[in-house]
Symmetry: C2
Subunit: 250 residues, 2 copies
Amino acid sequence: MLWIESMKNDRVKKWKKLLTRKGREKERLFLVEGHHLIEEALKEKIVKTIIIDEEKEVPKEWTVNEKEIVRVSKNVFKEISETETPQGVIAVCDMLKQQKLTYDQGKYLLIDRVQDPGNVGTMIRTADSAGFDAVILGKGCADLYNGKTIRATQGSLFHMPVYQHILEEIVNGLKINSVKVYGSALKGARDYRSVEKTDSFGLLVGNEGEGVQEQLLAMCDEKVSIPIFGQAESLNVAVAAGILMYGLSN
Amino acid sequence: MLWIESMKNDRVKKWKKLLTRKGREKERLFLVEGHHLIEEALKEKIVKTIIIDEEKEVPKEWTVNEKEIVRVSKNVFKEISETETPQGVIAVCDMLKQQKLTYDQGKYLLIDRVQDPGNVGTMIRTADSAGFDAVILGKGCADLYNGKTIRATQGSLFHMPVYQHILEEIVNGLKINSVKVYGSALKGARDYRSVEKTDSFGLLVGNEGEGVQEQLLAMCDEKVSIPIFGQAESLNVAVAAGILMYGLSN
């Protein structure tokens, strides 16, 4: 088992680069922190290296090769950890490979420029719960491999096909295949409660402040909204997406 | 207009104490940051002092007395600000006064030990949107006056009666007044989609990891759950609360 205590070690420098989107995309690697999430990553066979804090142990039930474990000093661990109360274990993982996206009958969540990684991660978790077939992140969304996104998915990113793609193409692809696409909007939209529930549709949700872009919304088969009965101006996007994912499904 | 540039100034020290729950509860004051939220606080007439960054101006349309404005140096402002990209204005406010809680027909959200202030704030925002009459925070919840809670409410804490109270008493009070109480649970519960929608009920949701406490759940008229169709183990509590608040209401 390798032991690293210097911040200047090349591997430490490389890991630190994985804390940025640019670094992750260059190396096609990302970091996963904490026991539960790493166990999910192990099932997916994407773990390349396990970084363990000097005072912690790799759980015996994990099937990992000794060669893949690196023990590091407290200070080195802190440099790479992104959580407030670290569990002392981080995995370096290969980015997830997705099958080619098909436009079969099914349920699809399309996310337009949602910037908060917690919101993106929470929506992936909800899409998994609601039995969705895929989540598609358009340009301008928080990074799927951001530590906060991953933690908010609570592991659902390992179960749920998540694509990064141009949303116009996805909307068109779904419509060509007769999968109806609903765009969430605050105004000029139909109350979601009056929409007939189905098992095949696309749902498009948008940016925290601005909602879905106009040109994308215009491409949708129908605009849907959640009625506001009180004085709030809008709902949090992850909550709204949850209400719509369950509310539009059978 | 007062000008403060020293961190050692007594007012600065007092404001810094308002960053902790203990300090807020002692002084019965809290801080509100950013234009939108302060405008809501001004409407409620709870603003005592406006702290403005040396490079910013108090908007002309705000009806505030010159005596109530304190201009501070960049460094002092940073000490009190809790946001990543500060708008340069913070208001010191009196805690909100609530009418005595009645147990009339209506919709009530009861929150048991939800620890993340973002979750608590988001649920208050959703309760406002969904036309709920009151939110009750039980013991062990994130503080209503935590900066993160306030920001997540997006101002709904100023529109929505929010009480801090022992939940057992609330559940009993509602039941005595024939307001049905639903407790959210993962197991042994009825699918919320089969519950008849009404305009009068209590909904009890619980801690991120553990859910609602057993003894509280046992007091409810019925346990309800949201079906999980995928591989996720559970939903985020704020998303679940949103689905149930809308899903159980007319």
